[in-house]
Structures are given as C-alpha cells and as structure tokens.
C-alpha cells in the first residue's frame, strides 16, 4: 500500500551513461514533482507535472527530461550522466496544483556517478 514509490532505490553508473528513475503514486493526486537533494542535504525542486503537463521547469540541464505517461507516473530520464549528478532524487505528489497542500514524498533514489 505504498503511497509514492520510486525505482531503483540505488543506482551506481558510469559517467556518460543514460539512466531513468521511475516514480509512481497510488494516491490519485494530480501533481507530481522531482526534487534533487545534494550532498549537503539541500533540497531543490527540479520539475512539476500537473495532469501530465509541465508546470514548473527550474533551471536544470537539458540532459534531464521528465516524462509522465499518465497522472500516476512521473519518470526522470538523465542523458550523459556527469559526476555532479550524484545526489538523492526524490519524487513527490500532492492532490492538486496548489503548493499549499501537503506533499507526499517517495523514499528517494540514491544516484552515484563514477
């Protein structure tokens, strides 16, 4: 009965590779997010999708591309991985596009680029 799930939990890969992280929520929420947490634990929003449409696209490199096949899923594809992409990536969701509402977070995907 996991609310927000992410796969994989850990991802170790070589520089230059392409990888994807998947996120699914079974809460019936309309909006989903991707956040990046750096080594100092600072969290910053990357993307937000509402009903499969991008509504926030912070200044992240073009190598990062979110894809939402339906409103329960928001995947993150990363091309040409770089050392600086090493971080923990969190998926989150909330019921609507109102950011005042509680966001529910997944367990995180720990990405290490070698």
């Amino acid at each position: 009965d996991t609310a927000v799930s992410q796969t994989p939990k850990y991802l170790v890969t070589q520089m230059g590779n392409d990888k994807s992280i998947k996120c699914e929520q079974n809460l019936g929420h309309d909006t989903m997010y991707w956040y990046k947490q750096d080594s100092k634990k600072f969290l910053k929003i990357m993307f937000s999708y509402n009903n499969k449409e991008l509504i926030i696209n912070e200044t992240v490199p073009n190598r990062f591309s979110p894809k939402s096949p339906d409103k329960a899923h928001l995947n993150l594809h990363i091309n040409s991985l770089e050392l600086g992409d090493s971080a923990v990536y969190f998926c989150a969701s909330n019921p609507s596009d109102l950011a005042r509402e509680t966001q529910y977070f997944g367990p995180g995907t720990r990405l290490l680029v070698l």
Binding site: K40, K44, F90, A92, A99, R100, T102, Q103
Partner: protein
C-alpha cells in the same frame, strides 16, 4: 520572494530534554509552512503543517510548532527528546511551490 532560514545546522540534546529547532521565513503573502523529518537513508515524512488556522500546530510524535507572524518564525519544539528523534529536520515555506530550508541535524545523546 520566499525564503526559509534554519538558524542551526546541528542541534544536540540529551534524551528526555526539550528540543527547539528554529526556523524563520520570508514571504510576500500568508504562506503555508511545514516541518518535515528525514531519518537516515529514508524519504521525507510530514511532521506538521500550518495553513492559517490555529497558530499552535500539533504534529506527530509529540512535536509542535508555533506560527508567529510578528517574528516571521515557525520554530519546532518537543518537550522531551527520544533517541528515535535523531534525524534531519526541514522547514518549508510554500506559496506557489515548496522552498526548503537547509535542514537541521538533530542528535540525541543517551
């Protein structure tokens, strides 16, 4: 513009003593404010939230926070720390999106 300042990057308390984690915010309007907790190698869990109702907000695990508009503060407190409270705590201000503070690492000494 919104911003969040967590005044202490690390806080250490003895088990059974009070916890105070400080948070100040800036916001153009009346924001929603949240505290989240992150245990080691885990995701973020909501502790409590303020959305313009009562200024004293009670959360899970005995935590509470008081919204003080005049001081633009939303400090998190707990009367008696437990070993299981050791974690990273994030204060969040939200208007059009979530803005996270830099986090406070809480250590509980047996």
């Amino acid at each position: 513009a919104q911003s969040v300042t967590q005044l202490d990057s690390h806080v250490s308390v003895s088990e059974g003593t009070p916890v105070l984690l400080r948070c100040n915010y800036s916001s153009s309007y009346s924001p929603s404010l949240f505290w989240y907790v992150q245990h080691p190698n885990k995701g973020l869990q909501l502790l409590l939230k303020y959305t313009s109702a009562a200024t004293l907000v009670k959360g899970i695990n005995g935590f509470e926070a008081e919204f003080k508009k005049s001081e633009t503060s939303f400090h998190l407190t707990k009367p008696s720390a437990h070993m299981s409270d050791a974690a990273e705590y994030f204060c969040v201000v939200s208007e059009n999106q979530f803005y996270f503070g830099t986090g406070t690492s809480l250590t509980v000494i047996p």
